[in-house]
Symmetry: C2
Subunit: 203 residues, 2 copies
């Protein structure tokens, strides 16, 4: 088993943090996004969407999509649960992970992809008005998360979950997207310090 990734990209970091929380060791293999390696036929056969990370199982089959890779490891090693406990708990983690992914992570990625000069050859077409529109979405979602983190220790509730991983990676990815965290979001800052201090954050 091995995982093909690009170390500097945000999605592979989600998987690395997830595995560190589970204390599962899997060998990683680097490919260079910027040098077009994802477009070669060998990689495209593993993931026709030409994205990292991809998990290669021992029989050679491939699982793409960060959350799908995390789901696989949750299934084979349920403890500690990072997708929630019980029917309601699992639904709450799914809800919050999706809110964070679709509302924050993706918005930060749109700002990066549609406004950063180095993405001009990869995001076709770059639509700068769409990048700008997402700056507002990022600020709104951070305010919503700040309110949530005023009522819960972690994003999905009392326990650390994949929703915290998605949010941490998204917040840290703001730097590459040239976005600053707004002032005054004390709950968000408290949470960010706490999750950044976990050993997994350095993975």
């Amino acid at each position: 088993m091995r995982i093909i990734e690009t170390r500097s990209a945000p999605n592979p970091r989600r998987v690395r943090i997830f595995l560190a929380e589970k204390q599962i060791a899997v060998p990683f293999e680097e490919v260079e996004i910027m040098q077009g390696e994802l477009r070669n036929p060998e990689f495209s056969a593993l993931n026709p969407l030409q994205r990292v990370p991809v998990l290669i199982l021992d029989d050679g089959s491939a699982i793409a999509e960060s959350v799908a890779i995390c789901r696989y490891f949750e299934e084979i090693q349920p403890e500690p649960p990072l997708f929630g406990r019980g029917a309601v708990g699992r639904a709450q983690v799914e809800m919050w992970n999706r809110r964070v992914e679709l509302g924050l992570f993706q918005a930060v990625a749109f700002v990066f992809r549609h406004l950063h000069p180095k993405m001009s050859g990869l995001e076709l077409p770059q639509v700068s008005a769409w990048g700008e529109a997402n700056k507002t979405k990022v600020v709104e979602m951070l305010a919503l998360l700040d309110a949530r983190l005023g009522e819960a220790r972690f994003i999905a509730g009392d326990e650390f979950s994949i929703a915290d991983i998605t949010a941490l990676v998204a917040v840290d990815f703001m730097r590459a997207a040239r976005l600053r965290r707004p002032e005054g979001l004390a709950n968000l800052e408290r949470w960010h310090r706490e999750v950044s201090a976990r050993p997994s954050a350095a993975a």
Copy 2:
């Protein structure tokens, strides 16, 4: 238990089809998206993102996000499994559902939201260049799914899953987005006829 929805919107249809496949009956309650009912304080307390559907549990707590609602019902009634069987099967369903949701469903939604005149007061700002860019993404993803459906009966493999539900709703939502299915995608058409003929498709 009850579900708040807007019958004409695509996301609630995903939940209705899912429940029909599981043969689970839950009362539905209609709210009007277009008349601003989602912005009132009572609804915002249930879902601060002001979207449907929302599942209200018997203790009054709310689960938003279609896939989170489906996940809840998968947990309380595992048969028939619509999120896959076993670790690899569940990872494959997650992978394909995400590919379909992020690559097709969302692209169709962007076309609708950024180009349809009736969304001008709801999607702020409408970025027409982004709507246009997503027309290309829709065509590319349909071609990828057509190739996939040349090698598998259903999108995630041999069994009907939530990935088929997401894809069916996305393909049917193309009409509202004023998009036509490209000619020549025979595998996609075969699959669309088959899943549309299931009783759940009318839910």
